[in-house]
């Protein structure tokens, strides 16, 4: 469905994506995750055809999304910055979307509007942040586009609405399978929905794997310094803390599954997928504490 090869995207002198490769299968739900400014939105906008790549190859449904009507008609991208005319009511907006998207499901749109207590007579500029996000999400569900892209769709939604949104996303996917890209800063909320995660880090596609593979690729251990050091030396070190002299807690990236029973002297600590992701993408060793330590010395 989506193929990216060696993609470069520059905004003037600033590089947003470089040496970017990925391949996304049809009818999967893929989570796009990354720290702020990693390049998530740039990637999604390139796929949707909103932006023109600087170099490389972006192929969606066999065509270049930037110049393809086919991609445009079969793709919808939902984000905070959807520019909707302020002179139309929500009801009128939905009607205009129905004209453009052939799979548009009008009754679904109306029922979701009623469920989330959005009146068709309201105007976009009068909605709260969360309600506006909800309205955007409804457009995404009702459009039933073969490629649906949600860029942080839950901004501003309260936790009850977020939960409903995820449930609705899955229900709708089961009824009408399609390719979904979903970015969020709340990996713990979406991980069960996802088939794969695409981690974008430092402007590159850093990893593309399943949630269970993500969890298995990061291992946290605790134990005596000698034993932990021996274990750490075999893998890529991500974090290292000697909290009590002689006792060390370390986090490492492993290339293949670690059988815990082979290391009886070490205590293994279970990490959530979100923690694994944070360790993988933490560039500053020592984290925020290091900044303050340096400042106190001055």
């Amino acid at each position: 469905m989506i193929e990216c090869k060696n993609v470069l995207k520059k905004y003037r002198r600033h590089t947003a994506l470089e040496d970017f490769h990925c391949s996304i299968q049809e009818n999967t739900i893929t989570g796009v995750i990354g720290r702020n400014g990693a390049g998530k939105s740039t990637f999604m906008k390139l796929v949707a055809g909103y932006l023109k790549k600087s170099q490389g190859e972006v192929v969606v449904m066999g065509e270049n999304p930037f110049t393809s009507l086919k991609v445009s008609a079969n793709t919808i991208m939902i984000d905070d910055n959807m520019s909707l005319p302020i002179s139309l009511t929500l009801g009128e907006l939905l009607q205009s979307f129905a004209l453009f998207y052939p799979n548009w499901n009008d009754s679904l749109a109306n029922e979701l509007m009623a469920y989330f207590k959005l009146s068709p007579k309201m105007y976009v500029q009068n909605l709260s942040k969360g309600m506006r996000s909800t309205f955007h999400a409804i457009i995404g569900f009702a459009a039933r586009c073969p490629l649906t892209i949600y860029d942080e769709p839950t901004t501003g939604m309260d936790s009850a609405v977020r939960k409903d949104f995820y449930r609705a996303l899955l229900k709708d996917y089961l009824a009408f399978p399609r390719t979904i890209l979903l970015s969020s800063h709340h990996l713990e909320e979406i991980e069960n929905l996802l088939e794969d995660v695409l981690i974008i880090h430092n402007q590159k596609a850093f990893m593309h794997l399943s949630i269970s593979e993500l969890k298995e690729s990061v291992v946290a251990v605790k134990g005596s310094k000698v034993e932990v050091d021996r274990f750490v030396s075999m893998h890529e070190k991500l974090d290292y803390n000697e909290t009590i002299p002689g006792t060390v807690m370390a986090v490492v990236k492993v290339s293949q599954y670690v059988h815990r029973e082979n290391f009886p002297q070490l205590t293994f600590i279970n990490l959530t997928a979100n923690e694994a992701f944070i360790y993988l993408t933490d560039s500053q060793e020592g984290g925020i504490d290091r900044v303050f330590e340096r400042n106190e010395l001055v």
């Binding site: 999967t28 739900i29 995820y166 449930r167 899955l170 229900k171 089961l174 713990e188 991980e191 069960n192 929905l193 996802l194 088939e195 949630i211 269970s212 969890k215 815990r260 293994f268 279970n270 959530t272 997928a273």
Partner: protein
């Protein structure tokens, strides 16, 4: 059922265990139709591919069999397979733990056997009293 995100077991393994428990509870009997991956996805709000993985585990262990175009069904030996599998995995781990701890505490093997016998006697006594 609630999934434990902190668990070192992936969701699909936890779900496979839950399905096995449902078979042990006889919610599904031999030759009855199992939930489809889409029903499971809906039930637990998980990706259908994850639910599919759980069903594949049971299929590989001969707990389920496939009928073309109809879905997956419980095999006649499903209960026995699950029981013997659980016995081998869980009980073996527990016994290994006991042997390790006994060695650490320098408990002679004969004494360990006596302790097991006493535990069994106590257990049976308890059952008789009930």
């Amino acid at each position: 059922m609630k999934f434990y995100e902190e668990s070192d077991l992936p969701i699909y393994v936890q779900l496979a265990e839950w399905l096995e428990n449902e078979i042990l509870r006889e919610q599904f009997k031999a030759d009855e139709k199992m939930y489809s991956q889409y029903q499971l996805a809906d039930l637990f709000t998980i990706n259908p591919a994850t639910a599919g993985k759980s069903l594949t585990i049971l299929l590989d262990n001969d707990i389920l069999y496939k009928k073309r175009g109809l879905g997956m069904f419980v095999t006649s030996e499903a209960r026995n397979v699950i029981l013997s599998k659980r016995k081998n995995e869980k009980l073996t781990t527990l016994v290994n733990g006991i042997v390790d701890e006994a060695a650490r505490l320098e408990v002679p093997f004969d004494e360990l056997i006596d302790m097991l016998k006493r535990a069994k006697a106590k257990n049976e006594g308890g059952i008789n009293r009930d």
